[in-house]
């Protein structure tokens, strides 16, 4: 197991829910994993919007982020499905198409960088927790078991497309359920558990009403299952659930990123979790 990663922040966590960034830093410290900043990294760039606009730009900017990590010689740790999706897909595309590596390197040369490929991996923090840190070690750090009924939301780009990700079953995943149950919570089953939150692909920006209808459908299923919290592994899904509920009468289900849940379970000071950034108040 690697005990050191370079921490890719993305956009939504550091700029809208900084508690997710803080909680991640503290949780990994508790687990004896060092996170090194990836100075100068930018947007991943977003797989739904920026990639939809121009794949050449998307690939070049993603390759820049990857090249910065190569310079550090460290695998990338992401805390967002979007960042994970973009950087993982970009690394995969570059691996499969050597001619595209040539193309991006022509561009990167202009900014003094080069992407080699094969040196570093792109990881999702939940997968690192599950696979590398392990459930046993996580259990050993729990100071305050969280005996809640929760609804986990995997999001789309965690395990899909499974052809390239190969992390978990794309439609019946279990990693996240096991990760929340490791800290004492009960992961409830609910209808369309694997469905999208509605935000992705540029929908939240371009067609917020449609995105909201999808979110409402998920929320209604979560509510029927009697979950107290929604647990996510993506700040964009997090934002969609958290900010959309104020516009949908009858919903006030707190939304918690897995890093924040672990922060609570590990007994970290509550002020480390930045819960005041949440629109739906998190009452524990």
């Amino acid at each position: 197991m690697a005990d050191k990663y370079t921490f890719f922040l993305g956009c939504i966590a550091p700029l809208r829910y900084p508690g997710i960034e803080k909680a991640t830093r503290e949780v990994f410290k508790s687990l004896d994993v060092e996170l090194v900043d990836l100075e100068g990294a930018g947007c991943c760039p977003a797989p739904g919007v920026i990639r939809s606009f121009d794949q050449t730009t998307w690939l070049a900017l993603a390759a820049r982020n990857l090249a910065l990590a190569e310079k550090k010689g460290l695998d990338i740790l992401t805390i967002c499905n979007g960042c994970f999706g973009s950087l993982f897909d970009a690394a995969y595309i570059l691996h499969e198409h050597p001619e595209k590596v040539k193309g991006v390197n022509k561009i990167l040369k202009e900014v003094g960088l080069e992407y080699t490929g094969g040196k570093i991996k792109v990881r999702h923090f939940a997968h690192v927790l599950y696979k590398d840190v392990g459930i046993d070690k996580i259990k050993s750090k729990v100071m305050q078991p969280l005996d809640y009924k929760v609804a986990v939301h995997y999001g789309c780009h965690f395990a899909k497309p499974s052809k390239i990700k190969q992390l978990d079953d794309p439609e019946r995943p279990t990693i996240l359920d096991e990760l929340v149950e490791a800290v004492g919570a009960k992961s409830v089953n609910y209808r369309d558990k694997g469905m999208c939150c509605g935000a992705g692909g540029g929908l939240r920006t371009r067609a917020p009403d449609v995105a909201m209808k999808m979110t409402e459908e998920k929320l209604s299923n979560v509510k029927k299952a009697g979950a107290k919290f929604i647990i996510d592994v993506c700040p964009f899904c997090h934002l969609q659930y958290d900010r959309t509920q104020k516009d949908i009468p009858g919903y006030d289900i707190p939304v918690i990123h897995l890093s924040q849940l672990y922060g609570l379970a590990f007994g970290l000071p509550k002020e480390y979790l930045g819960l005041e950034a949440h629109v739906v108040p998190v009452k524990l």
């Binding site: 920026i50 606009f53 789309c156």
Partner: protein, 169 residues
Amino acid sequence: MANVKEPNPEFADQVIKAGGKSLNLCYQCGTCTASCPSGRQTAFRTRKLIRKAQLGLKEDILPSDDLWMCTTCYTCVERCPRMVDITDIIIILRNFAVKEGYMADSHKKTASNMMNTGHTIPLTDDYRNMRKKLGLSEQPPTVLGNPKALEDWKKIMKITGFDKLIGGK
């Protein structure tokens, strides 16, 4: 037969060459449409979009709102019995649409934020203060507040022509 549309194999070819190699594997079963969470809420029909792409119906596809109703959730891709890279094909079609000037203003704003600041959303004072209170650096250690990195960042988009593509802002 005024409603019969002329196929445009040239455009279909362009889609295939841009990475949509699996386009013609589709046999129109409709599993994609049945699996689409966005299609439950909208008139977007994945199967139809793929059929139009096979026929190269460029004028139908590129200006349409439907093209932008996909959240890129990949459910259709997981279930497709012909292993068509549906999401990739939709992204290719969107790239063509943007190239032809079909881009929502809200998307232009996201793109220009990304280009000018390094992030899709701005850092405001509220969040600066929140970061400080959490013991984090006021600005994250990213392109933000790193002039050299931001210069490189923008340079890449000058080279790829992204600045012109989104309206030169």
